[in-house]
């Protein structure tokens, strides 16, 4: 078994951690948490606009990961993508239930501050890596037409559905659907170039 030290291929390392978690390895679980909780929590704080509620969802999502590690399918998503999915779908459930959405709207004073919500950076090499990833996706987003970018941000960072985006932007539903599709195609072409 590989040790907990950093290995060159992070994704392979993550996958091994998940296999160990599936076997009940608490150290592997703690390692997975330490590696990915900051980015997951960052997204949750952005979505819910409430640190305490975001930490609650983070806790639920990682508990679910602990319980579901055995059914994790590596071909479906990377471990990080899987953890983000677990957390985001819980946050979306809360936002669509209405109460959290209302609270969020009240807290969301700075409409355009979505991508710079208050946060402290993690320490060490993770900070450099996070900053690098942030630059990459930031410039990919910046290349999109503004309205496509807005639709994708509302979906990912505010947890809005097509219909809710259409209502928010007072745009026809069909238009919103195409903006999401076209914007995602461009992002994929930039961020996931076909090999």
């Amino acid at each position: 078994m590989p040790g907990p030290a950093l290995v060159p291929d992070d994704d392979t390392h993550d996958r091994r951690l998940v296999v160990r978690v599936a076997a009940g390895d608490r150290d592997a679980f703690a390692a997975l948490f330490d590696r990915h909780s900051p980015i997951v929590l960052g997204v949750l704080v952005c979505m819910l606009r409430d640190r305490a509620e975001a930490e609650e969802v983070l806790q639920e999502a990682f508990l679910q990961a602990w319980q579901d590690a055995a059914v994790y399918r590596p071909e479906g998503a990377s471990p990080r993508g899987w953890l983000l999915m677990l957390a985001r779908s819980r946050a979306i459930d809360r936002l669509r239930s209405g109460r959290a959405r209302r609270l969020r709207e009240e807290r969301s004073a700075l409409e355009d501050g979505v991508l710079s919500a208050g946060a402290e950076p993690p320490a060490g090499p993770a900070r450099v890596e996070a900053a690098e990833r942030r630059r990459t996706v930031g410039s990919a987003l910046a290349e999109l037409p503004a309205e496509q970018r807005r639709c994708i941000e509302l979906a990912y960072f505010e947890g809005l559905s097509h219909t809710q985006i259409a209502a928010r932007l007072e745009a026809p539903l069909g238009t919103v659907k195409s903006r999401v599709l076209l914007g995602m195609r461009k992002l994929r072409a930039v961020l996931e170039p076909a090999v």
Partner: protein
Amino acid sequence: MTLTTVSDARHQRLAELLPAYALGALEPDEQAAVEKHLAGCPECASELAAWRRTAEHLAAATPPVTPTTSARERLLTALDNAGGPARRTPAAARVSAASSPTAPPPARAGPREGARSRDRSAPARRGVAAWLAAAAAIAAVVLASWALVRQGALVGELERASAERRRLLAEQEELRAELSRARGRLTELAATIDLVTSPDTRRILLAGLGPAEGASATALVDPHRGIARFTAQGLPVPPLGRTYQLWTITAETGPVSAGVFDVDERGSGELEVASVPPPEQAITWAVTVEPAGGVPAPTGEMVLRSQVES
């Protein structure tokens, strides 16, 4: 041929929903349709993995937030109560082992029990995998029923919210009507104030006659615009099917109707007169009791008549 075309079109339509599915932006019905399709379409399943990687990149656009140490401790403590992957009961393990095609024969039961103390033999790992699968199935059932209960609660909440919305809308409608009435009243009052305070306004007093002896009325006439505001007090409530009608009478025209009015339980009534004969003519003002709706020329008893001009 047709079947292929139909399913191709369906496949195409659902494939276009995959990016939004990866973002979590679909409505529940579309989401269910995509999930149903994914189960039988390996091509879409692998496409979805690519869309999920794209969505995963987006997470990097927001600054990471490190959880507090106490949150980390709480989570690690909670693992003990979470019924995690390594915490199956031996009974559950036996059930899943019996139903698993890879389950070792009963003679190998000894080593499998040993798996709980981190025995790493292959059959033991298969045993662990089998109970993980069983536990996952149980967890799925628990999650599904939890989702149902939660859905029930949400439906209740939704119904309460829409009842509240209907109530608020009705209330808003009422307030709007009240506001409109108040505005109308305000306009009237403003017009009256204009009339009362204008130095050119002429005041005509009417005195009660016969059975309406205690009644009185005033007509405030704006000679420039040819309009008047008439108010009466102390009139008896007219018999059923009857109303009061106001007349302006000149030598040239005879009596001309200025409109009909009703009185409230205190005998007060009022009327806007849109057209008053020019001030050069001597006008007599009079009120008669007439059939409801009024008549072209007076037929009933006169109850008020103008006396003097001041």
